[in-house]
Symmetry: C2
Subunit: 227 residues, 2 copies
């Protein structure tokens, strides 16, 4: 019974996600759902990314947090419109974004002229992986400080993601993280998952991430033209 | 309506948590609910802790993970009985432990003779804070690699916890973490929360944590005797 309840929730979510998708398509927006555990560096990566895109590619951001506008405040000066979602109408707050929250955010984010929309999910390695929001690509961030065992412990997020950004590689040597073991663990749950090593702190790997973004946006745009 | 659904779920959970509590009390077990984001170091802290307690205090462990037995396998050689809960009967898995899962685990964990039971929750800073499982104390772990802003972004867990273990302090200087700002952020959401700085990697601060554990266990035991 619990399984069918869950399926109903996810089915209802997918219908709204499809509506969001149509709205994004209508404006030619390429949409990234950025997911990770708390403190993996999603916002710092977005800061770097928006800084590089500024003046070249028009980007918008939807920020998901249980509470507060800390991340939106960090991103606001970088030239992209930012809309904040707080998932805390209830005790504790929701631990993920769903399609309905994104639909509500679209009342505030003008899609006209935006080429890329980044959706920064709530920091959580479990539930965000279950909810489509209308994105083109799911990108997960993992910090080396979180350990090389995470693919085996939180497999769904590794399975549904189109790209893994392995962040804070400047900490390698200071933390227990075996790169070869990590790659092997990733291969066990999602052998095709591309991994880009980066450090949002030093800027290492940002070029590779921007190149991926540009290439995938072009692929998505081509797909929409054909469709 | 959603609020009342949530309240019903939590009320039902609390009834089972009270049953668990009675079972723990009947055997004089002091129970810690250990919570954190993924990769904060809960298991490494437990390894250190069990190593120190071994031969002095009889401890048991209930391990919560979405999938797998990686953490239980790490703890098994340390002389304490370990029971694994996997929260993944469904797509994606549950992102927290609840009282019913702990009740089921008690079918496998013999409480007779156990003085301390550690419950290692699923790695997540949101939902585990909402579910009582019958514990005496909630202890949260935060790694400095996660950043000093987390109290403002995930306030409930900081509010419900009785102790904060600030882990990986050996990384200070390598990550963006301002200790004074962190303390101020903690004070904004829970001014009375004690903080122990430690490094499960180097062993720094483990003594203070063991002393807290011993003192709190004595307080809890006294309370049970009086009650």
């Amino acid at each position: 019974m619990e399984v069918s309840v869950l399926r109903n929730v996810l089915d209802a979510n997918d219908l709204i996600a499809a509506d969001n998708r149509k709205a994004f398509d209508a404006h030619g927006c390429f949409v990234i759902n950025l997911m990770s555990a708390p403190g993996s560096g999603k916002t710092t990566i977005l800061e770097r990314t928006l800084h590089h895109l500024n003046g070249r590619v028009r980007a918008g951001v939807i920020e998901g947090d249980v509470l507060g506008t800390l991340d939106a405040d960090r991103l606001a000066p970088l030239g992209a419109p930012v809309v904040q979602i707080n998932t805390d109408p209830h005790f504790g707050g929701e631990c993920h974004l769903d399609a309905r929250m994104i639909r509500n955010a679209l009342d505030q984010l003008k899609l006209e002229g935006l080429e890329i929309v980044f959706i920064e999910n709530v920091g959580n390695l479990v539930c965000p992986a279950e909810f489509r929001v209308g994105e083109d690509r799911k990108v997960m961030v993992l910090s080396v400080a979180e350990g090389d065992d995470k693919p085996l412990k939180y497999p769904l997020m590794f399975r549904v993601s189109n790209l893994l950004l392995l962040n804070k590689v400047d900490l390698e040597g200071h933390v227990e993280f075996d790169s070869a073991r990590f790659r092997a663990n990733v291969a066990r749950v999602n052998p095709g998952l591309p991994v880009i090593e980066l450090s949002a702190r030093t800027g290492q790997g940002i070029d590779a991430w921007l190149a991926w973004l540009e290439a995938e946006a072009a692929v998505a745009k081509g797909g929409r033209h054909v469709g």
